[in-house]
Amino acid sequence: MIYLDHNASTPVRPEVRDAIASCLGDLHANPSSLHREGQRARAALERARDQVAALVAARSDEVVFVSGGTEGDHQALIGAAWALEARGRRVAISRLEHHAVHGAAEVLERGGFAISHLAATHEGFVDPAEVDSLPEDTTVISLMLANNETGVIQPVAGVAERAARRGIRVHTDAVQAAGKIPIDLEALGADYTVISAHKLGGPKGVGALIVRGGAPLESLLRGSGHERGRRGGTENLPGIVGFGVAAELAARDLMAEGTRLLALRERLEAGLTAAASDVVIHGTRAPRLPNTVNASFPGARADHLLMALDARGVAVSAGAACASGAVEPSPVLTAMGIACDLAICALRFSLGHTTTVDEIDLVIPRIADAVRVARSAAGARA
């Protein structure tokens, strides 16, 4: 199986797996316990916190461990909106956001909050000037750092600058960006940043919300004093330790891996264009993640392509994995103004630390083959 679905989930790195295995065997105490075993567990927890903070140039005490990107986005957006409720009951999210952010906004909407949307350009990013026309009662803006489907990098710093002028807080879902491009939260200016371990070689079930400079936040998961009172629940120590190792490796390899993946991406894009001359690659005129290609093959439906590729030992996604099962066009491509008949023919290829040149070369003829099969399936139906 050639796995080109790293944006859905990355294989756990062997070093991470070893760290988790040893933690499961050896560090079994509750990090909140006061005895020596508890304190040993606590030390491992805090070391992981340092490693995660370093990946995004944050302070360790700004890192709140959560169970993943979805929980992190909920905690950030809902927690900030609740904390800022006295100032207004409106949040703004971009039309490009992940389901997790849309879901959090729906929770707020049910609770009587108003939701505004930031539009996307045809190139797949949000224009920071959109911030200026948001209604007065807006308290939080949610804009992802890199889109999970197209890889387009969003102008979060520009949005944060304009938001700060209006006293609006900024949440950024950096789940797809972390480990793929350098992140410096100081320069970015986001108040709440969310990252997830399983997108950067770590385990599932763990992520982090980074709350900058004491930005207001109400706790969504109530409990005792865990995570400085910001997130109740006994810590998932093996997961967190694994996350720490993954973050350290990602930070170490960031530059070299970014260069390597970009070369592979360009090789793939050139191959796709050679194999199907009418292929449309989305977001090419915007800065993109080095690992993501979102391409439409006119006349070849994504679900047919997906099955044909699966049969040929290639794992990719149609739009986002979380939206699988549906043949509807991706809301992200729709928000970019991509026509429906083109959008339903889109595949996402996402490369990662296991991807090799050989895999890219092997995959191109298989894609060409799958496109032919999918087009004839469409022809048979018509």
């Binding site: 079994h28 169970s67 699988s324």
Partner: protein, 390 residues
């Protein structure tokens, strides 16, 4: 020197078979279980097998299991989720005074958002009197949340009676069974529970793996929304390795329960209690000697600081706790012990022993002698006027 871990109520060591079952899912068998490709299918099968195992431990239907990342999340989901669906005429929440902080703090939070909350006090033995609960129940109650076994003092609550009373007024009943699962037989159908929380790391599963059991026809709004995972009741990519580990731990716990293993730890706890009371005549049990999970022994040691005792015992290779691990970060005295009517000073002077699989019969004497020596040392120190209150 043999290290004695007597803090099983805080957390337990993941069993080797749990670890072994998890590791393949951190290796080549990765895959986003919501993806359609083949790896995704294998992942989904493993997830559903784990779900069935967890369901079997508590007599539930597999589709009633919602995997969560912690017991606290399960408690939050149960309470916030039911109240979010409540009708305007029925939105009161009733809890006991000795619930876990994840229940009490959630109740307080909901109260600030306009939900009426009634906290029913327990009796001085740490057990809820059903008569007192009945007085708090009326047709405006949406949810009753009472724990099965208290995490600090081990007292058992009259679950069947509470379920009956809740049912009589048309309220839902959530039971935090985090300390009970794997130690007592649980059957949500027989007990007539609508919602039940369990956490894997309390019965030798992995941390980060827990579940809320939701019985049919219980309306529940998700806390984490925006994905179809867990039948849209808990969004987010599934933590497959942890779920698999939880499944193995659940099956293992069920087997050990049938074999009488937790009962052995309860008998050792009762023996420990008897010997400690005899060796340290001033010591008193917090809670109720009979209506208690025997493996949890919470002792008040007059004239001794609980935390100082914990550190003394730690030096002897004995791991215990004051109150609960969860409240260790908060400096105040245990809300559970205060609810029993203890003074803050007595509450600070208490130590919890929680026994389990790792305890041997021969450890009981070591625990007794170690505690006796620690208390003697601390009292001698106190006599010199230098007692520490950390």
């Amino acid at each position: 020197m043999r290290e004695i871990y007597a803090d099983h109520a805080a957390t337990t060591r993941p069993a080797p078979e749990v670890r072994d079952a998890m590791l393949p899912f951190l290796g080549p068998r990765f895959g986003n279980s919501s993806s359609v490709h083949r790896r995704g299918e294998a992942a989904r099968d493993a997830l559903e097998a784990a779900r069935a195992r967890v369901a079997a431990l508590v007599g539930a239907a597999p589709e009633g299991i919602v995997f969560t990342a912690s017991g606290s999340e399960a408690n939050n989901l149960a309470i916030q989720g039911v109240l979010a669906c409540a009708d305007a005429s029925r939105r009161r929440l009733v809890i006991s005074s000795i619930e876990h902080p994840s229940v009490i703090e959630t109740a307080r939070h909901l109260e600030t958002r306009g939900i009426p909350v009634t906290v029913v006090p327990v009796e001085s033995n740490g057990v809820l009197d059903p008569g007192r609960l009945a007085e708090a129940l009326a047709a405006d109650v949406a949810l009753v949340s009472v724990m099965w076994v208290n995490n600090e003092i081990g007292t058992l609550q009259p679950i069947a009676e509470i379920a009956r009373l809740a049912r009589a007024v048309g309220a839902r009943f959530h039971c935090d069974a985090i300390q009970a699962a794997g130690k007592l037989p649980i059957d949500v159908e027989t007990a007539d529970l609508d919602l039940l929380s369990i956490a894997g790391h309390k019965f030798h599963g992995p941390p980060g793996a827990a579940a809320l059991v939701v019985r049919r026809r219980t309306r529940l709004a998700p806390l984490i929304h925006g994905g179809h995972q867990e039948r849209s009741r808990r969004a987010g990519t599934e933590n497959l390795a942890a779920a698999v580990g939880l499944g193995v731990a659940a099956e293992r716990a069920q087997r050990r329960l049938a074999a009488g293993e937790p009962q052995r730890a309860c008998a050792l706890g009762d023996a420990l209690l008897g010997l400690l009371l005899a060796r340290i005549p001033t010591a008193r049990l917090n809670g109720d000697r009979a209506i208690r999970l025997g493996s949890i022994v919470n002792l008040r040691l007059p004239g001794v600081d609980g935390e100082a005792a914990l550190h003394e015992l730690d030096l002897e290779g004995i791991t215990v706790s004051t109150g609960s691990a969860c409240s260790a970060a908060s400096p105040g005295p245990s809300h559970v012990l205060l609810a029993l009517g203890l003074t803050p000073e007595d509450a600070h002077g208490s130590v919890r022993f929680s026994l389990g699989e790792d305890i041997l019969e021969s450890d009981v004497d070591t625990l007794v002698e170690g505690t006796f020596r620690a208390v003697e040392r601390l009292r001698a120190l106190d006599h010199g006027g230098t007692v520490e209150r950390r």
